[in-house]
Symmetry: C2
Subunit: 357 residues, 2 copies
């Protein structure tokens, strides 16, 4: 009997040794995103993270991605991740400005930083610190989730020649930019993506803002609103990955590292994907849709937008010390970073344009 | 005895089941880089890859990074990876232009693409395809390894007011830009990083090109050559990861995915790191070293540089069909991408500059 017991113990001991890597249950997570599953490049980062995490973990960590067609709550992502129905989410931080106005800093702000400037602030200045601070009260972790670059200023049925042309205009535009337009007399509304074209066609709205040529052209807005304005309000819109804190704490050290690295690689990649899509769509637009009129808002209009933006930011800062602190951090870093952007990328493009003349 | 044998088999069976993940030997690789171990941000991507790979693999894949102070062969990286002394390398593709002129396309070319444009070409156009094609003859795999953004045009002892000021000038500048300067009458040399300051101080050279403010200021060049020119010749210098093909083939699927994802995340991160370093150094320069004179080459000089660049590229293309094909791919993509850069980032910065006036 002693021998049988010893044999049993020997088998058990070897089995136990094998446990950490072998018998460990597959970790199965679910991710809810604001976008329909097919809406690339916005849907690309979560889809790519799921693929990379599975490959890197040898199938021991699997993330099921669900688009809004499944969960029907595109603007419920933060709540669902906080509540634990989903371990992860993919969305835009500024959608939660009603819960905490400081969330806007992790997407983009009007007249704010460019993509390179903002990533430098996130990773080599105070951005990530403030990001975790703001999301701590929701018991979720927040990570950069892919960038669109400069977004276009939107599609308008009529040309905007002065501030008067904005008064009474009905426009779909979300975020702080919506508040800026409201200050300038625009009737601002939000309309789900699926109804945008119809609303514009039927005159429910006179103008709308979406993303950029890579995503806009296929929506067909140009058919009813041919004035396409350059951007000022979302110079570097960053998506977000949300993670339930308790779920993250339960991951092994390897799975944590795998998830964080996958998010970083997939976020960088979305910027490349959207840049290529925009370049291709812009070329297509110039040849196939020459009636689209590309415009920049007149300087007096932009000045009024800038003043309205500053007034709004200052009024939030006066009420909220955390908002004030993050605003000052962004302003200080942007002051330095913008000088470098001007002397490097801006000056380089300017030089090549002069040579082409 | 039968029972003992059964017991032994049971233990052996459990042990065998555990084998793939448990008893698998740790994979140990060595990486040689062109830079000294302390030369961040150039040395950052390989150091970060080593850290991430170890964490993600739970220590089952370990990469030892060796700087040039150890292997003493900064320009022998490709040969050492090809020969298998090192499984991996980190360097700059254009250092191998003597072996194959097409390697320059995977670093940067004068008057070429910006960082965003080039990454879009790599990942969402034909860049990666051509990269593997060119490196196939060396039996190595090549991956993007981090970007510096626009590099500055270099430090000069005297102001450059005309093409005549370039004639007879002694300058340290590598790559195709060196060939361009040579065509304009400059005596071009290459000098190791450690001797740059002394060479400039003693008059062995009259000018030199290094990277950008983030790396240049601490070298002290401004003390002897106060004219600091903006960039035209390296608008988006990409570093490279080299991997021995046979070594890569032996990796497990998990380790392959881990390595590729780590390289992509670390490459993106170097761009952010160098951007932040440049922004901070530029600010420091303006306040602490106001005697530095920031200049852009006069338009006639830039025109001559552009013509010399085009002549060189065309002459290589006439001799080498692969070079011609890649040049045409870059040109076609850049034509589309540049239009988008101008309407998005360039126009945005221009708008904000007008508002600041």
């Amino acid at each position: 009997m002693k021998f049988i017991r010893n044999c049993f113990l020997a088998v058990a001991a070897v089995a136990m040794l094998a446990t950490p890597a072998m018998a460990a249950k597959t970790v199965k997570w679910k991710l809810a995103m604001t976008w329909p599953s097919t809406l690339t490049p916005l849907a690309s980062p979560p889809l790519q993270v799921a693929k990379l995490v599975k490959e890197m973990s040898g199938g021991s960590f699997v993330i099921k991605v669900e688009g809004k067609e499944k969960h029907k709550a595109p603007l419920g992502i933060l709540d669902m991740v906080k509540g634990g129905q989903y371990q992860m989410g993919h969305s835009g931080s500024y959608y939660w400005k009603g819960k905490d106005i400081s969330t806007i800093f992790f997407t983009t702000i009007p007249f704010g930083m460019t993509t390179a400037e903002q990533y430098a602030w996130f990773y080599y200045d105070d951005g990530m610190k403030y990001m975790q601070q703001v999301y701590d009260r929701f018991k979720v972790l927040n990570f950069p989730g892919g960038n669109t670059g400069v977004q276009m200023g939107g599609w308008f049925k009529k040309e905007i020649n002065s501030l008067d042309d904005l008064k009474g205009l009905k426009m779909r535009i979300p975020g702080l930019a919506g508040e800026v337009f409201a200050k300038l007399g625009v009737n601002v509304t939000n309309i789900p993506a699926g109804e945008l074209y119809t609303s514009l066609d039927r005159g429910t709205i006179d103008a709308l803002e979406w993303v950029g040529p890579g995503m806009d052209i296929k929506m067909g807005f140009y058919k009813v609103a041919p004035y396409y304005y350059t951007g000022w309000h979302e110079p570097a819109s960053e998506m977000q990955f949300l993670i339930n804190k308790r779920a993250f704490a339960k991951l092994s050290a390897e799975h944590k590292a795998i998830l964080i690295t996958a998010m970083k690689a997939a976020s960088a990649d979305m910027y490349y994907e959207n840049f290529a899509a925009s370049a291709n769509a812009w070329e297509q637009m110039k040849t196939e849709f020459p009636d689209i009129k590309v415009k920049t808002f007149p300087l007096p209009v932009l000045k009024a937008m800038k003043k309205a933006t500053d007034d709004l930011l200052n009024s939030y800062a006066a009420k909220d010390p955390q908002f004030k602190e993050i605003l000052e951090s962004q302003k200080a870093f942007m002051k330095k970073a913008r000088q470098w952007t001007i002397i490097s990328d801006y000056n380089y493009i300017k030089t090549t344009m002069e040579l082409d003349q």
